[in-house]
């Protein structure tokens, strides 16, 4: 921190006991930059026992609001000790400033926010989370109602934003999802190869790659990427609209924000994500194939032949069937968090982050539930 030269005057501010008992002398520039030093000087003053105090301020050369405030505070502190304080010699313009500060300080109470204790913080947090969970539930309900209304009157379905969202969330995600699942296929085949070779079970690399991709990994990876790509965008878009009061404007125009902003996104993502999953299935298997040939000597032809036996139709459909559920989760969480934005730009950022974390968490949770259910059903 660099000290700033005081522009008004270079004279150092000071407060010292005067010549006679019961007298204090103020001098120098009582300005903001002298405040720390002044406060120390005030603390160092010998405790005055006199009932009457005279403060001579004729040597004060400059004063700003902070200096005036410190003087007022000092006067009050002295008065609180039971002394009658008289201020003399202050220049008229500084006196006017002192009056202004005194008037404003009178209006000011001493409200200081007490930092909450541990228990209170835990309680508040728990309550917030509960409200948030209920809020999400309520939002799903509202969304379902909006969907029901739209289905009852199909003219209200907005096709243009749906198509637009399919393009941005689906088509434009093809390169990244494709690349990642291709790499995933390679990695699985590579890791499995050494183990399988040991048992001479080379051909089972097809089962390993195809089944794990189709049934679990490909829907999951796709959902996670889409949550990061599109779910966050939904939250940011709706959140920004909330900040700029566009959502309120929509309401006043008589357009339901859910109908215009949420439904198209949910519908579009529920169409796009299964399609993406089919695509990533293919890319993952391709990755496995590319790796299986040099590592295990399995030709593309053998690999494809084995595919039909390795992945049953039910496994394949289970994988794709999970995608619309993930899509609904991602779109709803993203939109919901967008609507939770309050006021500031910072809140948009926070909600966007929360939307990604929450949707990925929920996607994995639901995936685990699916596994249990399908296991019980023997699928």
């Amino acid at each position: 921190m660099t000290p700033t030269p005081t522009p008004q005057s270079a004279a150092r501010a000071d407060i010292t006991p005067g010549d006679s008992p019961g007298e204090l002398r103020c001098s120098g520039a009582w300005v903001l930059h002298a405040l720390t030093a002044l406060e120390l000087r005030i603390a160092a003053l010998p405790a005055a026992r006199e009932r009457e105090l005279r403060i001579d301020a004729s040597a004060v050369t400059a004063m700003d609001t902070s200096g005036a405030w410190l003087l007022v505070r000092t006067l009050r502190a002295l008065e609180a000790r039971g002394a009658a304080v008289r201020l003399a010699g202050l220049r008229p313009e500084f006196d006017a400033l002192l009056k202004l500060i005194e008037a404003r300080m009178r209006a000011e109470g001493s409200v200081r926010a007490r930092p909450p204790g541990m228990l209170e913080r835990v309680g508040r947090k728990a309550w917030e989370e509960t409200l948030s969970a209920f809020g999400l539930l309520a939002f799903v309900g509202e969304g379902t109602l909006a969907l029901a209304r739209a289905l009852a009157d199909p003219r209200r379905i907005r096709w243009r934003p749906i198509l637009y969202n399919i393009q941005t969330a689906g088509f434009e995600a093809l390169p990244i999802t494709g690349l990642l699942s291709f790499l995933m296929g390679i990695v699985i085949a590579y890791q499995g190869a050494t183990q399988l070779q040991r048992f001479g079970a080379n051909i089972y690399v097809v089962d390993l790659v195809a089944l794990s991709m189709a049934r679990e990994l490909s829907p999951l990876i796709t959902a996670i990427i889409v949550a990061g790509r599109s779910g966050s965008a939904y939250a940011a878009q709706i959140g920004t609209m909330k900040v700029t009061e566009e959502i309120d404007a929509l309401r006043t125009i008589g357009v339901g924000p859910l109908e215009l902003l949420v439904l198209p996104k949910v519908i579009a993502l529920m169409i796009a994500l299964p399609l993406l999953t089919v695509y990533t299935d293919v890319m993952g298997v391709l990755g496995g194939m590319v790796m299986a040939r040099p590592q295990l000597g399995i030709s593309f032809g053998t690999f494809v032949e084995r595919l039909g036996e390795a992945v049953s139709l039910s496994s394949y459909l289970i994988g794709i069937g999970k995608a619309p559920v993930f899509a609904a989760i991602i779109a709803l969480v993203g939109c919901y968090q967008g609507f939770q934005v309050t006021g500031s730009a910072e809140s948009v950022g926070r909600r966007t982050t929360v939307s990604v974390v929450q949707s990925i968490f929920l996607v994995i949770l639901v995936d685990a539930l699916f596994s249990i259910v399908f296991n019980k059903l023997g699928l």
């Binding site: 921190m1 903001l32 405040l35 405030w69 313009e93 400033l97 000011e108 006021g343 910072e346």
Partner: protein
């Protein structure tokens, strides 16, 4: 050193083909409340931004405290920036900080005050602008428009500047709060000898506080002087500005108060 705090000479600003300022010049004396008025889009705020080194004019000279600021880099501007405070039209409070943190942040950056003293000085500035004490721990998004303006003023005054730039200090305020700002501005000038340069549309504020007013239009200064002098001007645009229905009401009110 001349007594002018802000001196502007031969200022030219263009945005592409649009000429905003054409050879504009005026000066603001120490301790003066100087107002820039003019129709929306006439370049008032641009002029203010150029004066506070946020934007660069095509040519001309702007001297603040006797120093040329045109072409000044941020580092050189820092010393000057500590001597002036700026209140932006929409407040420009940092939304991630509370009101009192908005003020203490400036103090922390530029003074050696300890945390306790900083908090107390911040509370003083907040009180000075007429905000209730419970506004301190609130976030800007929790405040009304008028309160946000006051909080912005509190931040602008954090370092007790000699020169205060106000961009539309009363826009969006209810008449009562606006009157509060009028009085505050005058009080500050009288008590602290502050120089204030403001951009405003508020005719009441002009009549109540401004010592001198410059009317900007057509890229140049149409007239400069006290409100009384300007209201007698025969320039068509100035006349329209002051004698439109709103102008008349404010002028009559100002007369009635005398």
């Amino acid at each position: 050193m001349s007594d002018a705090v802000v001196e502007i000479e031969h200022l030219n600003t263009r945005f592409g083909d649009a000429v905003v300022h054409r050879d504009v010049g005026f000066s603001v004396a120490r301790g003066e409340i100087f107002a820039l008025v003019g129709a929306s889009g006439c370049g008032k705020s641009t002029l203010l931004r150029e004066t506070i080194v946020l934007q660069r004019p095509q040519s001309g000279s702007i001297r603040v405290f006797g120093q040329e600021v045109v072409g000044m880099d941020d580092e050189a501007a820092l010393a000057l920036r500590r001597r002036w405070g700026v209140m932006f039209e929409r407040g420009a409070l940092f939304s991630a900080l509370t009101v009192s943190e908005n003020v203490t942040m400036v103090l922390e950056e530029h003074t050696d005050l300890g945390p306790a003293l900083r908090a107390e000085v911040a509370a003083l500035k907040i009180a000075l602008t007429g905000l209730p004490p419970d506004a301190g721990p609130k976030y800007p998004s929790e405040l009304s428009g008028g309160m946000r303006k006051r909080a912005a003023l509190a931040r602008a005054m954090a370092l007790d500047p000699e020169l205060l730039f106000l961009d539309e200090p009363t826009a969006g305020l209810d008449p009562l709060s606006a009157t509060g700002i009028d009085e505050l501005v005058r009080h500050l000038r009288d008590a602290l000898g502050l120089t204030i340069m403001m951009v405003t549309h508020d005719l009441d504020l002009l009549w109540r506080t401004a010592d001198r007013v410059a009317v900007l239009g057509d890229g140049r200064i149409l007239g400069i002087g006290t409100m009384n002098e300007l209201s007698k001007s025969d320039d068509a645009l100035i006349h329209e500005y002051f004698y439109g229905p709103r102008g008349r009401a404010a002028r009559e009110q100002a007369w009635n108060r005398r």
